[in-house]
Structures are given as structure tokens and as C-alpha cells.
């Protein structure tokens, strides 16, 4: 077994809703190995999106730690957070979240700008990635001129641009039809076979069934953690 690329230890998040504490996550612990393709499923409010935002350094936990490649990102200072987001994490969102005023090429390019990648290299990489996603002929189109599937492919290319350690996808097929969904899952699966580590949060069992491992969340904790192929249950914690 290879070393874990992601380690989640005792992760908790408590929000205050007025004076009432809401435990969105409580004591979540699991490991993800390099190159793993796993899905996190569960009903609404089970804490899966909260978990993803803690791993993605978009939000701070109230307890526990997240390690990516042995760096404890949950202890990262405000000034270190952007660098960790750039180098370790690639995001794919349900609503694509492309910048509407920029073309497909520029949307991929902008992620590399923040990483201070030189201009020539940015353009080359962006074209390569968009071509790899099968939309090499649409690079100069703006999001409004692209279909949902095409937009999500731009978003995937953007997530890959800085060679992150982990790709986090929050309901990546939530906004597309079944045919596009299969195409997107196929793409992500292909990326995982190339060695990318991918975490998908999804409602859709048709998506989760395509992954190697399914973590089911309930009430802020892990209810089950199964390998799909082998059907072997892992110990949640």
C-alpha cells in the first residue's frame, strides 16, 4: 500500500445558529492514498460539502487536522493559505464557477497567473489541458457560449493547471444531463488512472458507483467507507 496523500484526523466543525450549536462535522477520520478515486455521498446536511471545504482550505475546522502530503494545512496561516490552495488543491464546482468575462483559455490561464507561471508557459499548458479535455477548438469562447458539459471541462482543465496533489469536486455533475455526466465521470476516471487523486462529493449513485471507494456520511460523521470493486468495508476511524 502506498503512503496516504491525504490524512483527515478527528475533524470537527461546529456552527452557531443563533445560540444553538450545530455540529456539521464530528470527529471525522480517514486516509486517501495517492491516485485514489473516491466519492463522498450522503443526504443533504450530512456534512460532505463542509468536509470538502475543510480539505480545500476554504473554511477552518473547530477541531482536528487535515494533512496533505504531510503538511498540516489546517494550521496554515492566513498568508500561507493561498500558496497551499494553489499547489495542493484543484477545485471543481457544481456551478462550474467560470469567470463569465474570460474565455475558456483565460479561465484556465488565471489559475496559473496566481501561481506566477510565466505567460508563454501558461498559454501552452492551458491549450494542452483544454485539448486533453476535448475542447481544444473552443478555447476562445466565453462560458456563455459553451454548453454545461464544455464549461465543466474547462473547470476540470483549470483544476489541473497547477498540478495539484488532490482534485476536489463538489457535485461536478449536478448541473448536467446524464450523457454529459457520464462523459465527465469518464474524464475524471481517466485522470485518476493517470495518477491524479480525486475526491468527489455527489448525490448521484451513478457517479459514486464509478469510483473506487465510497465514503457515506450521515449527521456529520462517517457512516460507512467501502471499496467499490472489492466490496470490502474499511474501518471508519
Amino acid at each position: 500500500m502506498s503512503e496516504p496523500i491525504l490524512r483527515v484526523r478527528g475533524l470537527s466543525k461546529t456552527y452557531m445558529q443563533g445560540k444553538i450549536p450545530v455540529h456539521a462535522l464530528s470527529d471525522v477520520t480517514f486516509d486517501v492514498e495517492r491516485g485514489e478515486f473516491l466519492s463522498i455521498v450522503g443526504p443533504s446536511g450530512s456534512g460532505k460539502s463542509t468536509l470538502l471545504s475543510m480539505i480545500g482550505l476554504l473554511d477552518k475546522p473547530t477541531g482536528g487536522s487535515v494533512f496533505i502530503e504531510d503538511i498540516e494545512i489546517t494550521r496554515a496561516s492566513e498568508s500561507d493559505a493561498p500558496r497551499i490552495r494553489r499547489e495542493k488543491i484543484g477545485f471543481i464546482f457544481q456551478h462550474f464557477n467560470l469567470i463569465p468575462t474570460l474565455t475558456a483559455l483565460e479561465n484556465v490561464d488565471i489559475a496559473m497567473r496566481f501561481a506566477r507561471v510565466p505567460k508563454n508557459k501558461r498559454k501552452k499548458t492551458a491549450i494542452e489541458l483544454l485539448t486533453q479535455m476535448g475542447i481544444g477548438d473552443r478555447i476562445n469562447h466565453k462560458p456563455s457560449e459553451l454548453s454545461g458539459g464544455e464549461q465543466q471541462r474547462v473547470a476540470i482543465a483549470r483544476a489541473l493547471a497547477n498540478h495539484p496533489a488532490i482534485i476536489l469536486a463538489d457535485e461536478p455533475t449536478g448541473e448536467v444531463d446524464t450523457k454529459t455526466r457520464d462523459m465527465i465521470v469518464g474524464l475524471l476516471k481517466g485522470l485518476s488512472e493517470e495518477g491524479h487523486t480525486i475526491l468527489i462529493v455527489t448525490h448521484d449513485t451513478a457517479v459514486s458507483q464509478q469510483t473506487e471507494r465510497i465514503i457515506t456520511m450521515r449527521d456529520g460523521g462517517i457512516a460507512s467507507d467501502k471499496q467499490v470493486d472489492r466490496g470490502v468495508s474499511r474501518n471508519p476511524g
Partner: protein, 384 residues
């Protein structure tokens, strides 16, 4: 990043246009008002430097107080340290059309003293006044242009005297014998005529409006000024330094009024930048959240938003300067034909205008940029 800034600005053309227009109006005001203030500064500076070596003797209570006459002139001349002293009579060229900013002035002066009064000012045509000149005049460059005068032409001078309830207007033609070069001082708007003819025409006996006292090269003008004031009754004196100080004080007030009106206009322009940037930032909340999720540093977002604001400021500044410059150019041309110039756009004013516009943009962009940069990516991404 500049391409992104440009893109964002050109994406919202109408809004950017209106904001730039707001700043441009403000800077337009800075240029026009500032140009006027600069002109006055320059004119006073030049005028003072032309008379810097002489002490002014005025009637006690200023121009409207008791009048000075020939015996006062002689009294002043007798004071030790005074090399020379002569009286001058001042009156408006046309009392019926007194402009707010002065207008042309007739100066009655002993003919042989005109050279001393004008210091090193040269003539473009003709000669200065000489002893024995009758109804002759030496005119300033603006007067010559206004009335299209050449040597030998006649210039009409009017006087107005109140007589019980009516007033009588007299006119008299003077022959132009000399035209002065442009000095940028009050002399440009002057018509110099022999003192005795002026006193006769205005029916002023031997009174004068002011006396200029030329100090001996060895005398200290400040000391001498005080001595004259002590020795001669019912007069006040202004040494060159005092005059400069007094004029500067009144110029400061004038500058303050014009500049603060302009600054107010520009600040309103600045508020429009802030409003636009706040709207633009709140519209793009999600975009900034996304950029942060993609690893943008706080300074990246600050640079982008402040850059947009500064760019609008600079653009507004440029348009304001062009607009203000054009108005000033046409107004000066128009006014020159009527014998006066009101504005001077100095390099200093241009620098102030463009720096002010940029600063205004940057300062108005600071708060919106700070809001954008401090956004939590999580909150921002959830924002709809």
C-alpha cells in the same frame, strides 16, 4: 494583471464611462479654477517683480481715503534715502464697463518717469513718453490687441463725474506713441499718459492716486518705508516686502476659494468611483471567492481592484485635462480679443491634476478593494 484590469473596465462600458466622466468633471474644474488661480499668481508675481524696487505711498485709508498731491510728492522726495519720488494717477479706461477682473487702466505719470516705472520692459513699437508730450499715450500689449492699435492711432479715454443726481461722461482721444511688449503683468492692461494731461482730463487738480518712492541704492527699503510713513502725514507706505506679503495673503484666500471649489467637484467624482467599485465588487463577490479558492493572494485581488479604480482615475484625469485645457484655450482666445487673459495652465497644475485624479481613484478604490480582498472564499462562493 493589467490585461485583466482593462478587460474588467471595458466589460462594463456604460458604468466605466459614467465614472470616468464624473472624475473628468472634477479634474476639469481643477484645471479651470486652478488655471485661474495660477494666472493670478503669475500676474501678481510679475507685477511685483516689476515694481519690487520701489516703495508705494498711498493715502491713509487706501485709494478711497484723502488724496495725495504734488506737495506730498515733494515731501516724500525730500526724505533722506529717497532717490526719487513721483506721483501717479490711476483711473479706469472705460468707467462704464468695469470688469470684475479689473480691465484696462489709465495711468497718469510724469512722462520722464515712465521708463523708471516700467523698469526693463521693452517697447515693440514707437517710443516712451517724453517731457512735453501732450495727449499722447503708451499702451500695454493687451490694450493694443484689444483695440487693434498701431503707432499714430487714437485711443479714446472716458471719464465719469457725478454731478448731483446725474453723471457727466467726458471723452478725449490720445495718440498712441508707443506699444509695450507682453509682460504678463498689469502693465499689459495699462494706458500710460502724461500726468498733467490726466489730471486735467479727470479734473483732479494736482492730486495723484499713489506715489512711488525709489530708494537710494544704499538705503534699506524697509527702513525707508517706515521713515516715510513717520515723516509724512496722512499716508501709509508699503515696502516691496510688505506689498508682496499683502498680495500673497489675498491671493491665498483667492486660491483657497477656487481650489476648494475644484477639490469639492473632484471629490464628488471620487465618490462616484467608490460607488462604481463597490457595486462592481459586490457583483463579483463570487468571482473573488473563486479567485481565492484558486489560490489568489490578497495582494492579487487588491492590485486588480485598486488598479481598476486608479485606471478610471487616470482616464478621468486625462479627459478632464483635455476638456479643461480646451475650455481655457477658447476662453483665453476670446478674452484676449477683449484685452484680458484669465487662465494659465502651468506644468505644475497639470502634474497636480493628474496626481490628484490618480490618488482620487486609488483612495476611492481602497475600501472596495479591501472588502474584496478580505472576503472569505467560502462565504463568497456561497454568495448568489
Amino acid at each position: 494583471m493589467f490585461d485583466l484590469i482593462l478587460k474588467n473596465i471595458t466589460q462594463r462600458k456604460l458604468r466605466t464611462g459614467l465614472t470616468v466622466f464624473g472624475i473628468a468633471l472634477g479634474i476639469f474644474a481643477v484645471i479651470v479654477m486652478g488655471g485661474m488661480s495660477e494666472h493670478f499668481n503669475i500676474t501678481f508675481d510679475r507685477s511685483i517683480s516689476l515694481t519690487a524696487d520701489k516703495i508705494r505711498v498711498l493715502p491713509e485709508g487706501g485709494f478711497f481715503g484723502a488724496s495725495l498731491n504734488g506737495s506730498t510728492v515733494r515731501e516724500v522726495r525730500r526724505i533722506p534715502g529717497v532717490a526719487d519720488a513721483y506721483g501717479m494717477l490711476q483711473a479706469p479706461l472705460d468707467p462704464e464697463s468695469l470688469g470684475f477682473f479689473g480691465g484696462d487702466t489709465v495711468i497718469g505719470i510724469p512722462p520722464e518717469k515712465l521708463g523708471s516705472a516700467l523698469k526693463d520692459t521693452k517697447l515693440t513699437q514707437g517710443r516712451l513718453l517724453i517731457t512735453g508730450d501732450g495727449y499722447r499715450a503708451v499702451v500695454g500689449s493687451s490694450v493694443a490687441r484689444e483695440f487693434n492699435l498701431k503707432i499714430g492711432d487714437e485711443i479714446e479715454i472716458k471719464s465719469k463725474r457725478a454731478l448731483r443726481t446725474t453723471s457727466i461722461t467726458n471723452t478725449r482721444n490720445f495718440t498712441v506713441v508707443g506699444i509695450l511688449e507682453y509682460t504678463g503683468s498689469f502693465f499689459d492692461n495699462s494706458v500710460a499718459v502724461p500726468l498733467d494731461r490726466a489730471q486735467k482730463f479727470y479734473d483732479r487738480g494736482d492730486t495723484v492716486s499713489l506715489i512711488l518712492a525709489v530708494p537710494d541704492p544704499s538705503a534699506d527699503p524697509e527702513e525707508l518705508s517706515k521713515r516715510i510713513a513717520l515723516d509724512v502725514e496722512k499716508i501709509t507706505t508699503f515696502s516691496p516686502a510688505e506689498l508682496k506679503k499683502q498680495i500673497e495673503q489675498s491671493l491665498v484666500v483667492f486660491s483657497l476659494i477656487t481650489i476648494s471649489a475644484a477639490v469639492l467637484a473632484a471629490i464628488i467624482g471620487g465618490l462616484s468611483v467608490m460607488n462604481t467599485m463597490l457595486m462592481s465588487v459586490s457583483e463579483r463577490t463570487k468571482e473573488f471567492g473563486l479567485m481565492k479558492a484558486l489560490g489568489a493572494e490578497t495582494r492579487d485581488i487588491l492590485f486588480m481592484t485598486m488598479g481598476e479604480a486608479a485606471f478610471m482615475g487616470i482616464l478621468g484625469g486625462i479627459f478632464g485635462i483635455i476638456g479643461g485645457g480646451a475650455l481655457v484655450y477658447y476662453l483665453n482666445n476670446y478674452l484676449a480679443s477683449r484685452g484680458t487673459v484669465l487662465f494659465d495652465i502651468t506644468p505644475r497644475l497639470l502634474v497636480i491634476a493628474i496626481v490628484f485624479a490618480t490618488l482620487l481613484g486609488v483612495l476611492s478604490g481602497t475600501y472596495p478593494a479591501y472588502r474584496a480582498a478580505k472576503m472569505s472564499p467560502m462565504e463568497a462562493l456561497r454568495y448568489e
